[in-house]
């Protein structure tokens, strides 16, 4: 038992690793600040294109969304970071992560927002257009607010997935939370920094997850 506590819950090691992990957390936060808004934006564009009247816009978008939802994000990341250099394009790790996640997230957020868009009855647009609002005014003031509200729980839970997914960036040596914890583990030869990283993820995400469940129960009623 003591051995277990010493190996996994060693407060002394945790304290020593803390500054390193804090820097890692900063990088994780920075990644999230880049990939979540970009993913939402890409998702919005993907959703608009995939619900467009024009099949020349719709079909390629649907194909791309399918592709990036089917590809494991880790495969995508390694392809962008280690595959592209064979074409002479070596991206810095941060940029590689942002690009890979943009592609993956746009597909997922896109499907969620698309579901939101088609959940808004056609009569809403018709009413708006009948008062002289343009197509984009109708989208911005009438359709999107309702669409996003209808899928808000899904958008939030997907964002939780994205936060967790940023730990994949450790494989391209980006010093985010997990990478920093693993560094600390290898230096201290002790698993406690990993435990600490897990605790940090838990403390950050558990309230969101809890809130989501309550929120969804409320909607169900």
């Amino acid at each position: 038992m003591d051995q277990l506590i010493l190996q996994f819950f060693n407060v002394e090691v945790m304290a020593k690793a803390w500054p390193l992990l804090l820097r890692g957390l900063g990088m994780t936060a920075l990644l999230c600040l880049a990939v979540i808004p970009l993913g939402l934006l890409g998702g919005l564009l993907a959703a608009l294109a995939s619900t467009s009247q024009s099949r020349w816009l719709r079909w390629p978008t649907v194909a791309l969304i399918d592709l990036f939802r089917a590809l494991p994000p880790l495969v995508l990341l390694i392809f962008v970071y280690s595959g592209l250099p064979f074409t002479g394009l070596q991206l810095p790790p941060f940029l590689a992560v942002v690009i890979a996640f943009l592609l993956n997230n746009s597909a997922y957020y896109g499907e969620i927002i698309r579901a939101g868009l088609i959940s808004v009855p056609a009569g809403q647009s018709e009413a708006a257009r009948s008062t002289g609002l343009t197509q984009s005014q109708t989208l911005i003031h009438v359709v999107l607010p309702q669409a996003l509200r209808n899928v808000l729980p899904d958008l939030i839970s997907n964002s939780v997935e994205v936060v967790k997914m940023t730990s994949l960036a450790s494989v391209v040596s980006l010093a985010e939370l997990l990478y920093s914890a693993d560094m600390a583990r290898s230096v201290t030869y002790n698993a406690s920094p990993i435990t600490l990283a897990a605790l940090i993820y838990l403390i950050l995400l558990w309230p969101v997850v809890r809130l989501m469940s309550r929120f969804q129960r409320k909607i169900a009623i």
């Binding site: 009855p121 009569g123 809403q124 018709e126 009413a127 708006a128 257009r129 009948s130 008062t131 002289g132 609002l133 343009t134 005014q137 003031h141 009438v142 607010p145 309702q146 509200r149």
Partner: protein, 257 residues
């Protein structure tokens, strides 16, 4: 902008508010409107009756091009709104429309349902838009419900807000697409009362509805449609007492029975 004056041919008077001429509409191979000619003069209330599937709603929805006509022309105060290059959004702000299912914006309260187009289409300032919204809501008897969201209003109140949303833009004609069909019977009266008041204010109205008693009492003309055609067009007294067409008689017999 093509300003084709439809009545110049007949005389020099002001063109009718709304004129449909040779209107056709097909969905795929199904012809839902054939050779529709209809004139709504300024200040008139014209009722459109007919069985479901006779094309009434489609005809109404062609009038502001929510439905695109397959052929024919539509003139709004003499201007061909199907002409190439017309600014449809500019046309639509002059045509108010009221829908069967109200279609209020559920995320906005009654006031902002009315002000949205005032702000974004007419580009009015907040105060002026609020003022106009209040007076439009007052007209339908709901000024005291301005802060309520559609979900907090009864069906009849929602439809009255929808009417306020349309009249706030001061349209030259109002289209009503079965405005009372989705309402519980006890709520129909309040919507009809508002429409009657609009009629007293000489609003030009084209109304698709099954409210026969209201048509008989308030309409200037009643039009009967069957199979995508207008088969009867007469003043209400004549329409209800001595219709000229067999299909009109059959329809009236079924409804009054």
């Amino acid at each position: 902008m093509s300003e084709m004056n439809a009545t110049d041919r007949v005389g020099g008077t002001k063109p009718p508010t709304l004129q449909l001429s040779g209107l056709h509409k097909s969905f795929g191979t199904v012809e839902v409107l054939r050779e529709i000619d209809l004139t709504v003069e300024r200040g008139q209330m014209v009722f459109v009756l007919g069985r479901s599937g006779s094309g009434k709603s489609t005809m109404l929805r062609c009038c502001n091009r929510l439905e695109e006509p397959s052929a024919g022309s539509i003139f709004l105060e003499g201007q061909d709104i199907c002409a190439r290059g017309v600014d449809l959004d500019k046309i639509r702000r002059r045509i108010g429309m009221v829908f069967q299912s109200f279609n209020l914006y559920p995320h906005l309260d009654a006031r902002r349902n009315v002000t949205l187009a005032l702000r974004k289409v007419l580009k009015l300032g907040r105060d002026e838009a609020d003022e106009r919204a209040t007076s439009a809501l007052d007209r339908v008897g709901l000024a005291n419900r301005a802060d309520h969201y559609p979900g907090q209003l009864s069906g009849g109140q929602q439809q009255r807000v929808a009417i306020a949303r349309a009249i706030a833009l001061q349209p030259v004609v109002m289209l009503f697409d079965e405005p009372t069909s989705a309402l519980d019977p006890e709520l129909v009266g309040e919507v009809i009362a508002v429409m009657r008041e609009l009629k007293d204010l000489h609003m030009t109205m084209l109304v698709v509805s099954h409210e026969m008693a209201f048509a008989r009492e308030a309409a200037d003309r009643v039009v009967f449609m069957a199979d995508g055609r207008i088969v009867e067009d007469a003043p209400p007294e004549q329409f209800f007492t001595q219709p000229s067409e067999e299909s009109t008689r059959a329809f009236l017999a079924r409804y009054s029975a």
